[in-house]
Symmetry: C2
Subunit: 258 residues, 2 copies
Amino acid sequence: MSKIPQQLIKLANKCADASGKIIKKYFRKKIKINLKKDNTPFTKADIEAEKIIRELILKQEPNCGFVGEETGSINMNREYCWVVDPLDGTKSFITGKPSFGTLIGLLKNNKPVLGILNQPILNERWVGIAGVETKYNNKKVRVRKCKSIKGAKMYATSPMMFQGRNKKIYKNVRAKIGECLFGADCYSHGLMSLGFVDVILEANLKPWDYIASASIISGAGGKITDWNDNDLNLQSDGRILATGDSNIHKQIIKIIQK
Amino acid sequence: MSKIPQQLIKLANKCADASGKIIKKYFRKKIKINLKKDNTPFTKADIEAEKIIRELILKQEPNCGFVGEETGSINMNREYCWVVDPLDGTKSFITGKPSFGTLIGLLKNNKPVLGILNQPILNERWVGIAGVETKYNNKKVRVRKCKSIKGAKMYATSPMMFQGRNKKIYKNVRAKIGECLFGADCYSHGLMSLGFVDVILEANLKPWDYIASASIISGAGGKITDWNDNDLNLQSDGRILATGDSNIHKQIIKIIQK
């Protein structure tokens, strides 16, 4: 039984419906690409999708906090705080590749308790809820066992995400892993919960990139922490390790900390 | 008007229909993954999809040659020769990511004249025919102009594909390009024909990876050659440059040959 109120789960799904409609409208249309200060791109789709999510949440649950990639933070210390990436994988989106997704996460006392990953073009939705099994399009899903790190399939968004000391760690992990693939954005988190991906290693993530996924992966039986094996929250440093099999998680944490 | 017989176009589509059904059947099912001598994976889906394509072609057009990734080559020197990758992007396929595709190409006197890229899960099909505009799900499509190499969006399957001297060249190109993304397999060729990707740079491709795409990209107004700016055929060395804008092509060839 879920420990979080039904109306919050309903609200999260409503936000995914509404943002999905907006993103669909702009997908593969010739829209302007703007650049943020850190040189990452954003579009009307990112902005409008977050705007509708923020409006829906603050209208129905004005006491909740909100952290959004595009529109910033308010009341982050409230009991419940929403953490939203309206369009994770904007670079994929603007090249027409439907591996991007909308991430709607919820923290209770700074712990992830709810997460939605919505892929509006492929009509795929993952819902992870604390204490309940993760569902993919309304069907329960489960990570898979992985016998050996050598046979593991790993995803990272891009090898260029790892710089400095992180690059060395990434190379150490990659050297042990069977296969390393790139370019699946948050979609790789969904694939892990379905039992098709064993390891996800990322650096430089922001809370809106991992809070929603934390509930999805945990609820499917996987393990997701920072590189020091700590649970994730708003203050995590953005270096994330997710695995389907917890034995593999232990082994990779060892490699990271060598 | 197409210069190649209508029955060959129909046959190519029939092969895409038949192989698509097989691939759909195995997608996201727990099937055995086998390894070839070069350590690349294959599955029942790869084998059965190529088998049905080969059977359909050799039954209807026994005088044609055939080159298949999985089942080998016969009569490669005939006027018409089919070049088939039943499942380009097997690594994506086995992780559940629908960026893979079936590539069905046709050479006439060793020149690419027909290409189909079929994505059976997303129900997307590109058809490129010499002398005719490329179609995506039956609608004509066109590459886009790209003003500057700095603003270009590039795809490569994986940065690990570039080794030795090729790695140096890849790094030189990447240093000039606005954005470099990974992991879209042959799907990136389709996205280029739709006008959302500007550059594709690949090394180590085999004929079944590029013959079908050659017709799709050319027919949408793009340019695809080897790294020496030569047209593609069965003997190309597998180092491929495709661009939507031919000015960008010239500029990148210069960087490659520096």
